[in-house]
């Protein structure tokens, strides 16, 4: 066998054993290429920092305590927004999904307000609440809310009528059916909604932090832009990507594996 193929098969076996490897190794050539291009001086250093520059700036910002503090601010805002968005979105979605009247009255406005993207609210929110936490919280809750509501409705409506009937003829009351049938049946969709909502909410948060922020990863990046520090911008982008990766791999994916996939409602 030729050595390239041998290396490939070694890689295939290793990633099978340690799946995390498959997520990390592909970044090696990218970083290497980045390093080479930066070292070759194709672009001015200030415009195109090299990997060590970014690592140094990472160490620097961690040492000064700025990065941990900003990261904490961003994550806390996202968590609060996600929690509030779900707390409002799931009950609202259940209502709209179950009640014909609620659906007729609320579905069109829901679609319309969803279309006015979160960020378009910023100017008027700034007038109402000023530059601060209230504005950012509103934007995130707003962003998370709609995907959760719309997908919850879809989920509720996707529960087969037979399951309602089975529960009724086994003696379940309406509230019990909500808890035992409707909610678990809609759960895979609710999680999809949460995933989409977090995806949008996350970006909205970054935008809000750039435009109105005084702290947070978005602010860090935009502040760096003002100071012309590309290193910190790149660092911010990497942090954002990693953070999402962690949320996805450690929070969302395990929930999905434990629910919809286990029950055979979602195939992957």
């Amino acid at each position: 066998m030729n050595p390239a193929l041998q290396a490939w098969s070694l890689y295939a076996r290793a990633t099978k054993r340690w799946p995390a490897l498959a997520a990390l190794v592909p970044f090696i050539p990218v970083v290497a290429l980045w390093w080479i291009v930066a070292a070759a001086g194709v672009f001015p250093r200030a415009f195109f920092p090299s990997p060590p520059d970014v690592v140094r700036s990472f160490a620097d910002l961690v040492y000064k305590g700025i990065l941990p503090e900003y990261l904490e601010d961003s994550v806390a805002r996202l968590a609060v927004g996600a929690a509030a968005g779900m707390a409002i979105g799931i009950p609202l979605g259940l209502l709209v999904g179950l009640s014909r009247k609620a659906h007729a009255a609320l579905w069109p406005p829901l679609l319309f307000f969803q279309a006015i993207g979160d960020i378009a609210w910023l100017p008027i929110l700034l007038i109402w609440f000023g530059f601060g936490l209230a504005t950012m919280t509103f934007v995130i809750v707003y962003t998370v809310l709609f995907p959760v509501v719309l997908n919850t409705v879809l989920g509720v409506r996707s529960v087969p009528v037979e399951l309602h009937r089975a529960a009724l003829s086994l003696g379940a009351s309406k509230p019990r059916i909500l808890w035992e049938v409707v909610l678990p049946g809609a759960l895979p969709n609710i999680i999809t909604g949460l995933r989409n909502g977090l995806g949008y909410g996350w970006r909205a948060l970054i935008a809000a932090e750039m435009i109105v922020g005084t702290s947070g990863v978005g602010f860090l990046m935009f502040d760096a832009r003002r100071a012309g520090s590309v290193v910190e911008i790149v660092l911010g982008m990497i942090v954002l990507g990693l953070l999402w990766y962690i949320v996805d791999a450690w929070v969302l994916a395990p929930i999905e594996r434990a629910t919809g996939q286990r029950w055979g409602l979602v195939t992957r």
Binding site: W8, A12, A22, A23, P26, F27, V30, F47, A104, A105, L106, W107, P108, P109, L111, F112, F113, A115, I116, G117, D118, I119, A120, W121, L122, P123, I124, L126, I127, W128, P147, N151, V153, L154, N189, T192, G193, N196, G199, Y200, R203, A204, I206, A207, M210, I211, M221, F222, A224, R225, G228, V230, I233, V234, G236, M237, L240, G241, W244, Y245
Partner: protein, 259 residues
Amino acid sequence: MGWTGRILAGAKFLAPLAVLLVLWPILIRAFNVNPQIFPDITAVARAGLESIRDGSLFAHMGASLARVAVGTVLAILVAVPLGVLMGVSPGVSAFLTPLLRFFSVLAGIAWIPIATLWFGYGFGAITFVIFNAVFFIVAYNTLLGVSTIPMQVRNAAASLGAGRWTMLAEVLLPGALPNIVTGVRTGLGFAWRGLIAAEIIATNIGLGYMIFVARDFYRTEVIVFGMIVIGALWLLIDRLLLAPVERATIERWGMVRSA
């Protein structure tokens, strides 16, 4: 459904929105709301008419739509062939998937600071942000679509005598199409928000700029009018352009969908 049925359904859909429109001025009067907090419907209508008369609305709309169109078309033109190429071999696609996922997570807004540094404020930076939002998500979805076409289907096509190009045109592209369309729809969703954010930050024309400048003068009627235009434009793009295409591909192929 006949056309009477369709009109009825349309009317039923619009009725709650009409109720909101009627309630709006009533509530404004009942609570005596300061127009610097929230405008009356008549003020919004006047602001709308004025922006149409002096042509500023079309200038802003044109700028925004041009950026979206250029960025999106470029992104699709590059992303789809690239995605197909990468998806042809299972090994390559498995290797590249984490990379594409990482970059599609960053797609859009996160690129604003660096894009404005590289391209300066204006058309270039904003189009780059949109390109970015669409490119990675479409490339990732194309890759996903191609790599999930069952090997049997490809073998069947090959044994029926499909060459390289026929395979591409008859099997790989149509097979990946539902994923590509979904990718475009998701990517455009991010791009549209990215557009508004970028226009707030980095330009002096466009719908995002229009509403953000109005804030400086507490012209809430212009802001609300702009929000309605932004929402209506997105509804038109999404419901009239993207959703029907997605439905046509996805439902024909019997795949699942989400809201």
